[in-house]
Structure formats: C-alpha cells, structure tokens
C-alpha cells in the first residue's frame, strides 16, 4: 500500500507533530514500506483467537482503592516550562 501525503499529514495532526515537508515525504515512503511488511499479518487465521492485551494477565493484582500520598506541588512544578504560584502557565485555550 502507499499512503498519500495528505494521509501522512492527517496522522501527524492526530499525533500533534509539526513536520517539515521533507519529513512528510520521507515518512510517507518509510511508513508505506513498514505497513507493507506488516500486511503479512492479514493472512494469519485468527477468527477464534482472542486478542492478547497483556503478557501477565494471570497474575495481575488489584489494589485497594485507597488515597495515598503523591507528588508534592513544588516537586510537580519544578520541571514546568512556565509556572505561576501553584499552577502551570499555558497559552490561552479559548479566544
């Protein structure tokens, strides 16, 4: 299969990635090749096979739903690109 440039641009938008035209062209070629390779999975008979979502399902413990201490506010803000008082500062979300 071959992806179109606009399909690649659409995926980049979904992934919130700003890509150059050169990157769009390159990823179009490379993703098409990888998806071609992955197409061999379509021939595997799986109509009776349930999807495997975890390699450890047999041993997954459930924890009690109890409040426990988390990251302190100052520690959480320490890596913020911009913060003010106890909050992350961001550009306007609404006009």
């Amino acid at each position: 299969m071959s992806l179109t440039l606009s399909e690649v641009q659409h995926i980049a938008n979904l992934a919130r990635l700003e890509l150059s035209e050169e990157e769009i062209a390159r990823y179009r070629e490379q993703l098409s090749a990888i998806l071609d390779y992955a197409a061999r999975l379509q021939s595997v008979e799986t109509s009776q096979t349930p999807a495997l979502v975890s390699a450890s399902a047999d041993h997954l413990p459930l924890r009690e739903d109890k409040v426990r201490p988390g990251l302190e506010i100052q520690a959480a803000l320490r890596n913020a690109p911009q913060s003010e008082e106890c909050q992350f500062r961001v550009p306007p979300v609404l006009e």
């Binding site: 992934a15 700003e18 390779y37 992955a38 495997l52 979502v53 390699a55 913020a80």
Partner: protein, 494 residues
C-alpha cells in the same frame, strides 16, 4: 587497590568486607577509569561522581559500624554495599536529570527514584552515572540518541547495540561491574550479545516498572548487565519482586537464586527452535551458538528440536503494538508540565511545535506508525489483528515449555555492525530484533551471555528463554556453561 577492571562483584564485596580497600577507593578507581575511557566510548549522558562518592562514603561508614559492632554478622550487611553501578537514562533517580536520550527531556530533573534503582540503592550500590540510550529506548544501536552514539569497546568503529548500549559498553569495558538497562524488544539482550557480556530481560512483571519512563507498557522490562551470570543474578535478585506502585508487578515471591560450582545439567531439557536458525544469519553466529548448545549437552542436558511456528510474525506484530503503545505513552510530552516547550500563540501550536522540535526522527516515525495503527478505520486491521497474532505467539511458547525447560537460540542474527551501516533504513534496523522480540511479546524471561567470537574478533551471544518467572532455570544453565568456559572472562583491549 587492585585495578577495578580485574575485580568481579564478588571480589569487590570480599575486599570491602576484609577491609582491603574502601568503597571510596574502589569508586575513585572506577571514576578514574570512566574518565580515561569515556572520550572513546561515550557510555554516559550524565556523569554523577559527587553522588557516587557520597554514597561510597556512606557505604564505608556502614562497613566501619559493622566491623566495630559484630563482624560475624555479615547477614546484616546490605547485599551489594559499596559496589559501583550505572543506570540507563530511562530510569528515574531523584534530583538527577533523566533525558531518555531525547532533547525533549534535556533539562528534566527526576522528582522521584524508580523502584528497581531504589532497591539497589538500599542494597548499597553506588551510582556513577546515567547511561546513553537510543531516544526513548527506540533503537538497536544507540545511534538514535540525541547525545550521539556510544561505541563498542571491542571495536570503537562499531555500535554497542541498543537501546541500552551505554550500559553494555560500560560493563564490557569494566568501567563499572554492573549496569541497569530496559528491554522492550531486545534492548538488554542484543547489546549484551554485541559487547560480550551477560544480560537478563526478566519475566514481564518480575521487576517493577515504577519510575521507568514508559515506551511499550505491555512489553517493557527492567534488566541488568554484568560480566558473568552469577553477578547478573545477584543484582537481579536485589531488585526483583512485587511493588504496589506498579499495577502489573507480579505478587509472587522471588526465589533465592543459588548457583553452585557443580556444572552438571543432568535432567535439563533444552529446546532448539528451527525458526531461529534462518538463512541470512551470520555463519559465525550460528556456528558458535550450535557449539554452545553442544556444550550444554556435554554437561548433561538433553537437547531436542522444537518449533515456534509463529516466529516470523513477531516482527510485524511488535512493530504495530510497540509503536501503538508508544504513541499513547509519548502523548504526555506536550510542553506543558515538563520538558521542552516551543512558544506559540495558541495551545495547539505549543503541542505541535514542542513535539516536532523535541523528538528525533525514529521517535516521530514510531509515533506516526502507532497513531496510524490505532486510528479510526485501521484499528481492527492493524492493532487488533496484531494483538491476536500476539496471542498465537504466546501460545507457541506455552506449548514448547510443556516439552522443554529452556529454549536456546541466537540473540541477534549478526555481531556488532558499524556505526552508520544501516543508515536511514528503519526496516533493516528492525530486523536486528527478530530473535529477541518474541520473549517480550510472550512476557517470558530471556538471558543473553557470550559464547565465542566471530572471525573479526567480535563477541557472539546466545539466548536462553524460559517459562514465566523461571529466571532461576536460565541462570543455572548459563552459570553451568560459564563454569566450564571462559568467554565471559575475556576483556577488550583498551
């Protein structure tokens, strides 16, 4: 103080207990070796000598107390007190930066310590630095690190493998006796093989992932490198076990791993899967692995052919599932709470520009691939079908482990390749992982260890895989092999 590169972890612990040298002396000797060889190898992203010397001084204080109070009570000493360690830069260590080999986290200072690292700190280990990795552990060579590639100490024009290549290079060069890595598709085992050392990818859920920066959450495992199996097992045992902070951590006891000097493998059933000896495999790799299997047989193991018929699908399954999980996990890098922010007028543009500028090309490629595989209209055909075939791959292992105790096979189809050799051909690079991916998909443990050299003098590794939570069986078999061979004692000339 003997040269640190001549000492095993056991030698170090014995010397520290006897008082032949202090942890500060040992650590200073390792730091001097790091400073001498680092320009040639580039194993580290962040070097932490002050932190190491503080931890070493604390270890010495504890040895002093023990010697003064009750020198007969060695059980009171933490298991690895005063022994140097390096940590792959995808595992958090509080107040030290954690870059994941990415520009997007260049200035990120970890607010807490990962559980496996915390346990090794409690066991007394001394962290000398954070090691180089392919960006977000996506790669097989460290060439995808935003901080430049690490080099293989056996031939510095070659890669050490990846993604945990900095850790493998450092242990192979004996800068430190042990290092932590992470393995999502082979990122501990393949660099162990390329660098001629031992490396374990534990069972999924055996070692906590808390504080490991997520890549493919259903596949990620924290592993260890050391020169020998016995040293690897010692460090593994100190960090394994249940952690309530990781919801996928198995609530099972970790057996104490007892390795004896008796190399008999009588009763051990070894399976050799035909699907792992394909055309295209480097002849020296196949030859050395077959010799090692013969050695296991000579030690008393019974060897039989087995079949894992869905092996050929592991690569396409992995390269849909891992990128899909990565595309979700890496959504957190949005320039808001931490990491790089590229300024823009609108919030939407902050996301796009920060991610576009902060991620390297392999990370973007996998985010794109994963986003596509999860997108409306393609989910069932790609991600859904991959999960079903993943179930078939896991079933293959379940069936084979009814017949045998371990599976023996190559780690990688080749020995270490040259830096730049795979250029910008992602599929060629992905093929490096064909023998290691299945263990991650099935969640079973895999152990890589050296079994010889190719004609260019580059190490060849063998992989043993076992049933879930049977790391001990792998350690015992490989330890028996190392009792009668000397490949793990070979050092690169540096």
């Amino acid at each position: 103080m003997p040269a640190p590169e001549t000492l095993s972890i056991f030698d170090m612990l014995a010397g520290l207990r006897r008082g032949d040298f202090s942890s500060v002396e040992l650590t200073r000797a390792c730091l001097a070796r790091i400073e001498r060889l680092e320009p040639a190898l580039h194993t580290l992203i962040t070097y932490t000598p002050e932190l190491a010397l503080r931890a070493a001084a604390e270890a010495d204080r504890r040895y002093l107390e023990w010697r003064r109070d009750d020198p007969s009570a060695t059980w009171m000493l933490p298991a690895l007190l005063g022994v140097p360690l390096m940590v792959k830069d995808v595992l958090c260590l509080e107040n030290v930066r954690c870059t994941c080999g990415s520009k997007i986290l260049e200035n990120f200072s970890a607010p807490f310590t990962a559980t496996p690292v915390q346990r090794l700190l409690q066991a007394g280990m001394v962290v000398a630095g954070k090691t180089n990795t392919d960006e977000f552990a996506m790669g097989s060579s460290t060439e995808n690190s935003a901080y430049g590639p690490s080099r293989n100490p056996w031939d510095t024009s070659r890669v050490p493998g990846g993604s945990s290549g900095g850790s493998a290079s450092a242990v192979a060069a004996r800068l430190v006796p042990a290092a932590l890595g992470s393995d999502t598709g082979g990122s501990v085992r393949q660099p162990a093989s390329f660098c001629g050392i031992t490396g374990i990818k534990p069972t999924y859920g055996r070692v906590s992932r808390y504080g490991l920066v997520a890549y493919g959450s259903s596949l990620d495992a924290v592993g260890v490198f050391a020169a020998s199996v016995a040293e690897t097992a010692l460090v593994f045992a100190s960090m394994a076990g249940h952690d309530p902070l990781d919801s996928t951590s198995a609530n099972l006891p970790v057996p104490s791993i007892s390795l004896t000097s008796d190399p008999s493998l009588k009763g051990l059933r070894v399976g050799v899967p035909q699907e792992y000896f394909i055309s295209g495999i480097q002849p020296a790799v196949e030859a050395k692995v077959r010799e090692a299997i013969a050695q296991l047989e000579a030690l008393g193991a019974s060897v039989q052919a087995v079949s894992l018929p869905h092996t050929e699908y592991a690569l396409p399954v992995y390269y849909l599932i891992a990128p899909a999980e990565a595309s979700a996990n890496l959504a957190r890098y949005d320039g808001i709470r931490f990491g790089l922010r590229e300024p823009a007028e609108a919030l939407w543009d902050v996301f796009k520009r920060s991610r576009g500028a902060g991620f390297g090309s392999e990370v973007k490629r996998r985010i794109m691939l994963g986003t596509y595989a999860l997108s409306a209209g393609y989910y069932d055909a790609y991600y859904g079908q991959a999960q079903k075939v993943r179930a078939l791959i896991k079933d293959d292992f379940t069936r084979v482990f009814e017949q045998v105790d371990v599976i023996a096979c190559p780690v990688a189809p080749t020995t270490a390749f040259r830096i730049g050799e795979h250029g910008d051909d992602p599929l060629a690079m992905y093929l490096e992982d064909i023998f290691t991916l299945p263990a991650n998909l099935a969640g079973v443990p895999g152990l890589a260890f050296p079994v010889g050299f190719d004609e260019a003098g580059l190490p060849v590794g063998m992989q043993l895989m076992g049933p879930h939570f049977k790391e001990e069986t792998l350690f015992r078999a490989a330890h028996a092999y190392q009792q009668v061979t000397g490949w793990h004692k070979q050092h690169p000339a540096l």
